[in-house]
Amino acid sequence: MILAFLLLIIIIFSITLGRYPIGTREAFGIIGSKLFDIDPFWTGTQESLLLNHRLPRVILACLVGCCLSTAGASYQGVFQNAMAAPDILGASSGAAFGAALAILLDMGKTMIIVSAFSFSLLTVALVIYIGHRVRGKQVLGLILAGIMISSLMSSGTSFIKLVADPENQLPTITYWLMGSFNGASPEDVGFVVVPMAVGLAPLFLFRWRINVLTLGNDEARTMGVNAKRLRTIIIMCATLITAASVSVSGMIGWIGLVIPHLTRRLVGNNYKYLMPATMVLGAIFLLVVDNISRNLLATEIPIGILTSLIGVPFFIFLISRDGEQL
């Protein structure tokens, strides 16, 4: 509850933050005017900037932060591995390949997102297919397949970079890979909000049962949980929201690992509380980092660089501090 309230305050603060000044009063006025009849006391530039650029960007940062953290926490549960991150099944490397391919073929911005999203899902599907053919432990097979296919996709991306036009395609690809919310539009939000909602809802609803799943298939089954089916659902949902996230934001590392761990320290390992807290905390984290990304320097710093720059030292602090062991 406190976290949700904090998120709301930061959202309002974030909207007013930026090179072109928009006050809190104007911001509320512009958003309110969509619902009520309010005489404009703001400029047209302010309205267009807020609705077409700043607000979508703030919403997108929150959504992606929420999704990547939730996906990380979910994968950690189903893989019984505290080190699992959202790209463990290759969702990110697949998206990167898809985006690079679309840029190489000179496709438009929407097609880059669609291509990244599709390739992300395709990659994970391939990983799951191969993982199930591995003899022995299923979970280990999946993780191994994830590592292999990720590496394959990365070489594919490298090859595209090699043949791309170094004048404008290569920089675009490189910049995309660094991750950014620059140029977020209402259409981007519209494109990802449905898959995100479809993926997040089951993860939220099944959150108690994920606890039982962390004890392993056999134990979960003897406690009345259809472990195989539930694990499949959780993996599919977590993959969907990861794919949707990276397709609009590019590579954003560490958040899916750092935020769930921070939340575990704050509210404990019970997914009943862990899940909602991770969702909100992830949104807060990425929104704050994105604010830094667009306001700290005159040129925008790619957010993927910042999440690592902030995430890694923070993670080191978290795991080396006294108290709970990994």
Binding site: F206, R209, G268
Partner: protein
């Protein structure tokens, strides 16, 4: 009879693990499945719990076949108590026991007041209420075993399947855990434990099923079936079964002529 294992056989590929196992037990019984490591005790349990499908035969609980029940219905009548383990995430003892109530909940629900009360009752019944705030990973092996028993109580199943409950515990904890379990059978629970330790069967069991190379070697009351030749055959060592305190207690020791001369 409440639980009946009928002519159950299981094989991994061409390797026959279990051959024509049959036995039965009733509520209030304490049954030990005795045999050396690797004889198929765990496989038998996995078949009885519906985790493996036998190649032949089945387990019947109140005349219903285990293979015909789904996970949720099965969890309401039969609970599994694994060896005390070390899970990845450090849940509190209370949450760990609370997970036992999952079978009573709807798909999307979390445990509520009723389930929390069941957990309180289970914890106090086992005598570990003082542990509830502790992290499961921060308590001792014996305490963990008691927590897992409490979890099975909270699951409200009357048949408890215990996998080698005493194998990883020290002397005191072993006695504490076994006495707790024995008390449960007096309250109408049926306990089926696997063990490689014949002394455990003498002390607590009503019935013993001795498994040898995947087959039933002996089935009956411990005083009647456990003797020098059975134990020697099971484990491939010469053993003498000694009687203590007017035969109210028996223990197995290595055959005398071997250790006297060393």
């Amino acid at each position: 009879m409440t639980i009946e294992v009928v002519d159950l056989s299981f094989s991994y590929g061409t390797h026959n693990v279990l051959k024509n196992i049959s036995f039965s037990a009733d509520y209030g019984d304490f049954l030990s499945i005795l045999g050396p490591n690797g004889v198929g005790k765990s496989t038998l349990f996995r078949c009885m719990l519906g985790l493996l499908t036998p190649n032949k035969g089945d387990t019947f609980i109140d005349d219903r076949a285990v293979s015909s029940l789904n996970a949720k219905d099965l969890a309401k009548i039969i609970a599994y108590i694994p060896q005390s383990h070390n899970p990845v995430f450090n849940f509190s003892v209370f949450d760990m026991v609370l997970m036992g109530t999952t079978a009573q909940l709807g798909q999307y629900s979390s445990p509520g007041k009723k389930e929390r009360r069941q957990v309180e009752e289970a914890l106090s019944r086992i005598g570990i209420s003082h542990l509830k705030e502790r992290g499961y990973r921060n308590i001792s092996g014996g305490e963990r075993q008691l927590v897992l028993i409490a979890r099975a109580i909270a699951q409200q199943a009357k048949i408890l399947i215990m996998d080698e409950p005493s194998s990883s515990l020290d002397f005191g904890n072993k006695i504490r855990v076994m006495q707790t379990v024995k008390a449960l059978t007096n309250d109408g629970y049926m306990v089926i434990q696997s063990t490689h330790d014949p002394d455990q069967s003498f002390l607590y069991s009503d019935m013993v099923l001795a498994l040898y190379k995947g087959e039933v070697l002996a089935w009956g009351k411990p005083q009647e079936i456990i003797n020098d030749s059975l134990i020697s055959k099971l484990y491939g060592v010469d053993v003498e079964v000694c009687s203590l305190q007017e035969d109210s207690l028996r223990i197995c020791i290595p055959a005398r002529d071997k250790w006297i001369h060393e």
